[in-house]
């Protein structure tokens, strides 16, 4: 998740870090897609303001001019595009956002289920619409479900193997944690993770992570995890 490669004591230093961004995937025809986006934005104005956004243009066959128009259209809606995905060098141009290579396997989206076209509103809680607040989930998070929330997440119930919670704040699980949880996902090193029973596939805070093999001594325990001096620290609570 995080690669920190700090060069030895020179004035010029650099490091690589991974960040979380929203991926927008426009569809042809673009004009209709923009109209859809406008409808959505009218319900959540300012949702993308100041947030990093990447546009996935795979399958669109855009020319440079088309791409510039799309970026400008999004810019008018306060959506600042930091990069483009899913295209080759054809769209490499200093006037356009830089091209990104596709992510390995992690692609954070609000939900992994395709929204049902018949449902205008998601029947699941839409955590992402309430900025920087805490979200209470009072049912188990099932395998295959992916939850992204800006703020803290509290789950009353278990998080199944194959489920995933990504939060910018802390994560509290009042149940067994069998899936993956990523707290402090936008660079918040002060986020914590608590769970009643740890059987996680992966836990991460601010990009520092530990897999199930690295936490074997805490398996089955009630634990608290936080970042201390750049290390993900775990302590059993009882």
């Amino acid at each position: 998740m995080v690669m920190t490669a700090v060069a030895p004591a020179t004035s010029f230093q650099f490091c690589g870090r991974s960040f979380l961004a929203f991926v927008l995937k426009p569809k042809m025809p673009i004009a209709e897609w923009i109209a859809e986006a406008d409808k959505w934005l009218s319900r959540s104005p300012g949702f993308f303001t100041g947030k990093p956004v990447v546009v996935d243009v795979s399958g669109l066959l855009l020319s440079k001019d088309n791409a510039a128009d799309l970026i400008a259209d999004l810019g008018m809606r306060d959506i600042r595009v930091m990069g483009m995905l899913g295209t080759d060098d054809r769209l490499a141009d200093p006037s356009l956002p830089p091209l990104l290579s596709p992510p390995g396997k992690t692609e954070f989206q609000v939900a992994n289920e395709k929204p049902d076209p018949r449902e205008t509103s998601d029947p699941q809680p839409s955590p992402v619409l309430t900025p920087a607040s805490s979200l209470l989930v009072d049912s188990p998070v099932r395998s295959g479900q992916s939850l992204f929330h800006e703020g803290d997440v509290t789950v009353i119930g278990s998080v199944s193997s194959g489920a995933e919670i990504v939060a910018t704040g802390s994560i509290h699980i009042y149940g067994t944690l069998r899936g993956r949880v990523l707290a402090g996902a936008d660079g918040n090193a002060k986020a914590h993770i608590f769970c009643r029973r740890l059987e996680a596939e992966l836990i991460a805070i601010d990009g520092y992570y530990r897999m199930s093999d690295d936490i074997s001594s805490f398996l089955g325990k009630n634990v608290h995890a936080w970042l201390e001096d750049g290390a993900l620290t775990i302590k059993a609570l009882d």
């Binding site: 289920e113 449902e119 049912s139 395998s143 295959g144 479900q145 119930g157 199944s160 194959g162 067994t176």
Partner: protein, 271 residues
């Protein structure tokens, strides 16, 4: 009030069709008007297990597309008067069913039956989501092994997200039906224990069906196990499940390896 019940699992081969037939027959034996509907277009099996494979003329696809009337496609069981079958098409492909068509058929079935039991295909694709779409309650069939449990967990997530009931903001009633349970192997640790499965899935337990040759024999002779060997342990477990679905308050029987059947009370709500 008709109840539309989907029998689903995610994973294949865990006993959805067997369960559909056995529960359908058991409910009908208690005098309920029951129709079992096969949603496994292209790989239909329910007609075989119900022993009606030579009597299928029209199927769900014909009715959903409006080509024939519902009563022309319904097949009445020869043993129980109040039990009917609506078969799946074996020749069409899975896209031949539309949401509108299925919704209309389910609505029509609601009007003339107490129970509409939808036998879902395996997987989480179109057929499975159509089978669960208009259900009021779900029976999640699970084997006591990790892959089946994870797939069931996935399906439970979909039941809470992709059904009409979920879209209306209501909570889908879900019941766990554990099949192929072998108390001896569970005791040795070769199989997940009932408690483990309930802990992971967190839905109430409807029944535990013991692993038994009676189930296999029943499928092969084309009769639901509750009809072919009503005294057998699986048949009794299915019958209890049917009564529980009808609102009879009964503890769940847990098979125990030594003296056949030991009745033990399990919490109705899982932790």
């Amino acid at each position: 009030m008709a109840q539309v019940m989907v029998v689903t699992s995610g994973k294949g081969g865990v006993g959805k069709t067997t369960t559909t037939a056995a529960l359908g027959a058991a409910l009908a034996q208690h005098g309920q008007r029951v129709v079992v509907v096969d949603f496994d277009v292209g790989l239909r099996n329910l007609d075989l297990v119900m022993g009606a494979e030579r009597r299928v003329v029209y199927d769900l696809t014909y009715v959903a597309q409006g080509n024939v009337k519902l009563h022309q496609a319904l097949i009445r069981d020869r043993r129980i008067e109040t039990l009917f079958l609506l078969a799946a098409s074996q020749t069409r492909d899975k896209d031949s069913l539309t949401e509108e068509g299925v919704e209309r058929v389910i609505k029509e079935l609601r009007a003339s039956f107490d129970w509409v039991i939808c036998d879902s295909p395996a997987g989480i694709e179109r057929g499975a989501t159509l089978a669960m779409r208009y259900a009021d309650l779900a029976v999640v069939v699970t084997n006591p092994e990790v892959s089946s449990v994870r797939d069931s967990d996935r399906i439970i997530g979909l039941l809470d997200a992709k059904t009409d009931k979920a879209a209306r903001g209501e909570r889908m009633d879900k019941h766990l039906l554990l099949t192929r349970y072998d108390p001896v192997r569970a005791g040795r640790g070769d199989m997940l224990r009932i408690e483990d499965v309930m802990d992971i899935l967190s839905i109430p337990l409807l029944a535990v069906i013991p692993e038994s040759e009676d189930v296999l024999r029943a499928s092969n002779v084309g009769a639901p196990v509750t009809l072919s060997s009503p005294k057998s342990a699986p048949a009794r477990a299915y019958d209890e499940a049917a009564q529980r679905l009808m609102g009879v308050d009964k503890p769940v029987s847990i098979p125990n390896g030594r003296n056949g059947f030991l009745t033990k009370l399990f919490g109705r709500r899982a932790a």
